[in-house]
Symmetry: C2
Subunit: 263 residues, 2 copies
């Protein structure tokens, strides 16, 4: 399972201040720390970017790429900012992402075709709501895949995000089971291997106590690995979760096992 850090995001006050002040150092410090913690790709979430969206996005991408060769996932619903990121980046960029919501379908998805790049597709309803169960997600997956194929892109460019919700929701455990089922069922539904990504942090939103949060996040990460998840979006400073994912990867990937490969 590939480790995608969610840590470069505008909700972190240090990142917000650095973006507002166009100061690359705190951002680059975060990039280095994420890489040291095990990140294999970096999600860049600049928030809504209501002002100077393109210029800010270009600044962010340049700041990050100056200190890393890791692939970047550009995590914004702002099409102009997304386009700016794609034009600025010199390394690998993944669009994160589109859904059946009209604004994203009409203005984000075409950027993947234009730049021939990977794109994450969320299993959300056209109204932006989370489907209630596995069947609801599969219905959205089929429609999303159809819309994606109309771009002419190779299916290997699509990464499905089944959309995690908090366990504490009324149907939270049912949703968590639905996500596992959907990841398992997608290859049969599409008729070929399907790339998938899931955001772990949503699961434990509202957790009472950090030990419980990390226990649950790690346990569910292993369940996702068992279901065949390709990419986990997470707080890479959750060292326990990172260790669990590495242990799972040693089991799920082909090739011999060695105890020395474990952290």
């Amino acid at each position: 399972m590939l480790l995608v850090s969610e840590n470069i995001q505008i909700t972190n006050p240090a990142i917000q201040a650095a973006l507002e002040g166009r100061d690359p150092a705190p951002i680059q410090d975060m990039v280095r720390r994420c890489a040291e913690a095990g990140a294999e790709a970096l999600d860049i979430n600049p928030g809504p970017l209501t002002r100077n969206a393109e210029e800010k996005m270009a600044f962010l991408v340049k700041a990050v790429e100056a200190v890393t060769d890791l692939p970047l996932l550009i995590d914004t619903a702002n099409p102009s900012a997304m386009a700016a990121a794609l034009e600025t980046a010199s390394g690998k960029v993944v669009i994160n992402g589109f859904s059946l919501e009209p604004a994203r379908l009409e203005r984000i998805l075409p950027l993947a075709e234009c730049h021939q790049t990977d794109i994450v597709g969320y299993l959300l309803q056209p109204d932006g709501h989370v489907p209630m169960d596995a069947d609801g997600r599969l219905t959205q997956a089929v429609a999303l895949y159809q819309a994606f194929l109309e771009t002419g892109l190779d299916p290997g460019h699509l990464i499905i995000d089944p959309v995690m919700v908090p366990l504490a929701w009324e149907n939270g455990t049912e949703q968590a089971r639905a996500v596992l089922d959907v990841i398992r069922m997608l290859p049969d539904v599409f008729g070929h291997p399907v790339r998938t990504m899931a955001g772990l942090s949503n699961l434990t939103s509202g957790a009472s106590g950090n030990a419980r949060r990390l226990l649950t996040e790690g346990a569910y990460a292993a369940m996702l690995a068992s279901a065949g998840l390709e990419m986990a979006l997470l707080n890479v400073f959750h060292a326990e979760t990172v260790r669990v994912i590495r242990a799972c990867t040693l089991i799920t990937r082909p090739g011999p096992f060695s105890w020395e490969q474990l952290p």
Copy 2:
């Protein structure tokens, strides 16, 4: 996932000495500690029992039942000892177990019919070897199920053990993936829900370092939970693994989630 302790076994010198000296106290102390650690059933493994097999087995069962109401899994290849356990026990007993090996098929399986009890069936070849892959295990599963059905017992009495091997084996990770696949596929193969049990300790046999062992055991336990495993046979004093399994059970079972239910 039900927690079955493997801790009452003859390879523990204290248990061996207690059995030889017919001293129930050390055995009963272990039973209490297992229950406190979270055991929901107790595997009783008295070894080959070359002398006084029936009398020793009866002593063990009486000693254990004097201090617990937990179900017992009687883990011996000795048919006379197994019969003695079934005759002695007043509470729930599971036979652990049979396979396509002629001796077990001919002398252990009939005891399940005779006592109308649950029985564990190992996915081993008739020569006692571990199948090489998932297909090999499914082939044995079909033959084992056929033999089981000939007893006339209800299919709900059969618990399939897909047989874990050490990750450190040359094909160890392939085998670990095969076990997950088989647990997932059995309901389709048999055409109804299938009860399953797996022994976790074999997986980490030969581990270098206890932290690595517990990390890997916990991660794989969660993968087994994701695959739908019903019962985990493990060292219940591995508190980290027990915590992971409890977190998984909160996710896999129907009903609302509460952070307060977690250890």
